[in-house]
């Protein structure tokens, strides 16, 4: 116990506060000394703005940086989705004819030129004015090239959905779940002062920023951004002649390579921290489930990302150095299936990277708000390990129709279906946790309930795809789109929203406004289901994904109304998120000031003072029990903090 504290101190002094010179007897620290030292920090060590907010080494600041980064990218990615949703609702808008929209076509509502303008050239709406200016201008305007009269050119359409998915997966969900929650929660919840490698931690964030800048640059290069889908299937992605995209796709690959390094650095840091720096008494089976999930995810990231990185490197060689890893000619060459194997060998664990921390967060929220221990803590941990392990042997289920040997399909179907078992265990255990509880419907709990129910839909719809004969039909249709959004939006994003509201008091020392949070929750929940549930129906109707104009197909004519409905819901969903942003920013400055442990939680992060100072704890807590000691019989308080000594008088609240 003593030793453990000293380790934390050393690192605290040397790396984080850079004032080891005035404190050379680190090894001799006692608890009292510890307290003094904290005062020293506060008194003598005012950090510069840049050190504190930009190139920060503090895990909490880096976590907040990742959070804001992810939220900004969420709006970029969502905006792209809304653009192509508009197209899907109104795909039959006029083409250009001699620099003006052709006559006798359906105009694009609101943002396109009006019917009057198309017919008589009369400027009626604000949009007409904009388009008139664009048509009359001599320059090659961006909109005129990519969206003449509001209609999105097919190439631009491909670019939009490619970047929507790329940004959402690599720049929103992973940075928020792993970067933000991982950084903020791990040291606080395991009871240590910071990450094992604060400089690497900073590097991880700034590499992610670099990756985002490079990704953004891709929009402005000639030929446009990557348009081969987020999966970047070769040979479409491997040879510029098939898409006409030059540096856009190179930058896409380079950016993802850098993002891979960022994740790698972060995951090494997480694993080291969790293994080595747990507070005294914090055994592995006393770790909160969210820490377990982040630990498992860090291992997945460490093992999976290098596979993508090597595939991307080969892709870059193919594009720039004339190799043929993924292309073939009549004389020979590589294999287009190789890319799919490499991509999905990374890609499926990646899917679990996106959902496991969500499961962890939901577990915390459900236990706290049901005032009960997690039902079957151990089996929850084993289920997560099982999901992570099975994640390595199911990648072929993305490739049932790829031309892979059909015999392999049987194997991958079986392994994929097996994942239903640990997923079911988790779901039943969440229900078990609520059983005979005392459920408080706080906003974080609402999000956790939404997480569970949406995850149930996303999980059940997965069975259709795991089933090879049925997958033949629904593969590459909107059924898949519905499924992935139920898991990643309905699952991960609801967990993220719930997590933000739950830990906001610890992050910023203030509450988020609860009324706004509740309005945001209900509108998001309804709009989300209106947007994505009908996509199951589109998929059953055989509506392909990634097509810019469903109205070209006779058998998809009936879905015009449904596509319009989905688009309207998607816009609602998008605009509702502004409530969250307003609430988030407003609450940082104006929210109600939060006490130390506002939700009456047992875990260690709530032992730290609010706002959490450098070094987190006045003294490193000692852990006496598991993380979910709620409503213990015979105790007066309905929760016993992990750090509360045995047989000591209860110190409820703080």
């Amino acid at each position: 116990m003593q030793e453990n504290e000293n380790i934390s101190h050393e690192h605290d002094d040397d790396e984080q506060h850079e004032h080891a010179h005035d404190d050379n007897d680190t090894m001799e620290h006692t608890h009292e000394h510890d307290n003094d030292e904290q005062h020293d920090h506060a008194d003598h060590h005012e950090e510069s703005f840049i050190r504190k907010y930009i190139f920060s080494l503090d895990h909490k600041m880096i976590g907040k940086q990742f959070l804001i980064y992810g939220l900004i990218m969420l709006f970029v990615g969502g905006g792209l989705a809304l653009l192509f949703r508009w197209q899907l609702a109104y795909p039959e808008t006029p083409e250009l004819e001699g620099g003006k929209p052709a006559k006798a076509a359906k105009p694009l509502p609101i943002i396109g030129p009006s019917q009057k303008y198309i017919d008589d050239g009369e400027v009626v709406t604000g949009a007409d004015k904009m388009w008139e200016r664009i048509y009359d201008s001599d320059k090659e305007e961006f909109l005129e090239v990519n969206m003449p009269s509001g209609l999105i050119e097919p190439h631009f359409y491909n670019m939009l959905f490619t970047m929507h998915a790329t940004i959402m997966v690599f720049f929103v969900v992973v940075p928020i779940l792993v970067g933000a929650f991982g950084n903020f929660l791990i040291p606080l919840m395991i009871g240590t002062r910071d990450m094992a490698f604060p400089v690497l931690n900073m590097l991880s964030f700034w590499l992610a920023v670099l990756a985002a800048v490079i990704m953004a640059a891709g929009f402005f290069v000639p030929g446009g951004h990557a348009s081969a889908g987020w999966t970047g299937y070769a040979p479409l992605s491997a040879d510029p002649q098939w898409t006409g995209v030059g540096w856009g796709l190179n930058l896409w690959a380079i950016s993802l390579l850098i993002q891979g390094f960022s994740s790698l650095v972060g995951s090494i840091n997480y694993i080291t921290t969790i293994i080595n720096m747990r507070a005294p008494g914090m055994t592995f089976l006393r770790l909160p489930l969210v820490i377990w999930s982040l630990f498992i995810v860090a291992i997945l990231l460490l093992l999976a990302f290098p596979v993508l990185s090597s595939a991307l490197a080969l892709l870059i060689f193919d594009r720039l150095a004339g190799t043929t890893f993924f292309t073939s000619t009549a004389e020979g060459g590589g294999s287009s299936l190789l890319w799919q194997h490499l991509f999905w060998f990374f890609g499926h664990p990646e899917v679990y990277i996106l959902i496991l921390p969500g499961m962890g967060i939901a577990s915390e929220l459900i236990a706290v708000n049901s005032r009960k221990p997690i039902f079957g803590y151990r089996s929850m941990v084993y289920a997560m390990i099982a999901i992570a392990f099975l994640g390595w042997v199911v990648w072929g289920h993305h490739m049932f129709q790829s031309g892979m040997r059909p015999g392999m399909g049987a194997f991958f179907m079986t392994t994929t279906m097996l994942i239903a078992v640990p997923s079911a265990i988790k779901t039943f255990n969440w229900l078990g946790t609520m059983f005979r509880g005392s459920i408080r419907f706080t906003t974080p709990m609402l999000h956790a309930i939404a997480f569970v129910s949406m995850f149930v839909i996303g999980g059940l719809s997965g069975i259709y795809m795991a089933n090879t004969p049925v997958d033949i039909y629904i593969h590459d249709t909107y059924y898949i789109v519905a499924h992935i959004h139920y898991v990643v939006f309905g699952g991960s994003l609801f967990a993220i929203f719930g997590g933000i509201i739950f830990w906001f008091p610890k992050m910023y020392g203030r509450y988020m406004n609860d009324t706004l949070s509740k309005i945001h929750f209900w509108l998001t929940f309804i709009a989300f289901n209106c947007t994505f549930f009908p996509m199951h129906i589109l998929g059953v109707g055989g509506h392909m994904r990634r097509i810019s104009n469903p109205m070209q197909y006779e058998y998809l004519q009936t879905f015009e109304g449904m596509n319009i409905f989905i688009t309207m819901s998607a816009f609602t969903l998008g605009f509702v998120q502004l409530i969250l942003v307003f609430n988030f920013v407003w609450s940082i400055y104006r929210g109600k000031v939060a006490e130390k442990n506002p939700w009456n939680v047992t875990t260690l992060e709530w032992e730290a003072p609010t706002p959490v100072p450098h070094g987190n704890f006045a003294q490193i807590p000692t852990v006496y029990r598991g993380p979910y000691e709620y409503s213990v019989p015979g105790e007066e308080s309905d929760f016993i903090p992990q750090a509360q000594p045995e047989h000591a008088p209860a110190s409820a609240g703080d």
């Binding site: 050119e153 097919p154 491909n158 479409l236 098939w242 073939s328 009549a330 287009s336 299936l337 049901s370 005032r371 009960k372 221990p373 997690i374 039902f375 079957g376 803590y377 089996s379 129709q401 790829s402 059909p406 049987a410 179907m413 079986t414 279906m417 097996l418 239903a420 079911a424 265990i425 255990n429 229900l431 078990g432 609520m434 005979r436 408080r440 149930v456 059940l460 069975i463 259709y464 089933n467 090879t468 004969p469 049925v470 039909y473 593969h475 590459d476 249709t477 129906i537 059953v540 109707g541 392909m544 990634r546 097509i547 810019s548 104009n549 070209q552 197909y553 058998y555 709620y630 409503s631």
Partner: protein, 219 residues
Amino acid sequence: MLGWLPENISEYAQGVDKLFALIYWITVVAFVLVIGTLIVFLIKYRHRAGHRAEYIEGSTKLEIIWTAVTTVIVFGLAMLSFPEWNNLKSPAENPDYVVQVRGEQFNWYMIYPGPDNELGTEDDLELENELYVPEDKLVQILLTSKDVIHSFFIPNLRQKQDALPNQTIDTLKFQAREPGRYEIPCAELCGFGHSGMLGYLIVQTQEEYDAWVAEQWPE
């Protein structure tokens, strides 16, 4: 939900719709049970003043039950699916007709072997985006691509198979029951013209088909 499926005209793939329906009902029941339980719990165990949660850490018996039940269901489903999958994705034995199909940005080319029944000879006939077949006959498709990956999708036959460049896939086959004209979209992103890469399957009666053949290859 099931009503949205397009008409199934395939002799082979009737089993697909049956499996689909089976999974549909399994998932509907599972959904209703889980969400129903969730709602009951939310109402019954909501926080009330003076009421305390019960300290329950878990139940090994229950864990074993729901693990076992789920395992049995998924294995059962897998077992039911193997024969159907093998049936759909194995090379045709003694097909009545063989047609080569080539995907090429952004069209489907259908190549008929002609009277000599051999591909790559002079009497081959290449059609753009039109695949003529007689009803109730086993047709094998030799699927390939010239440039990138395409996916040959016939919703009404419940068939889909990616076409790979410089590789021929021989596992695609079907037997169409209803004469008519059906769409063959491309289901794998293949470039800017992906949306609108559209062919047609024209299923004819045997007489119509024979007449069509006579027209294409006059004696």
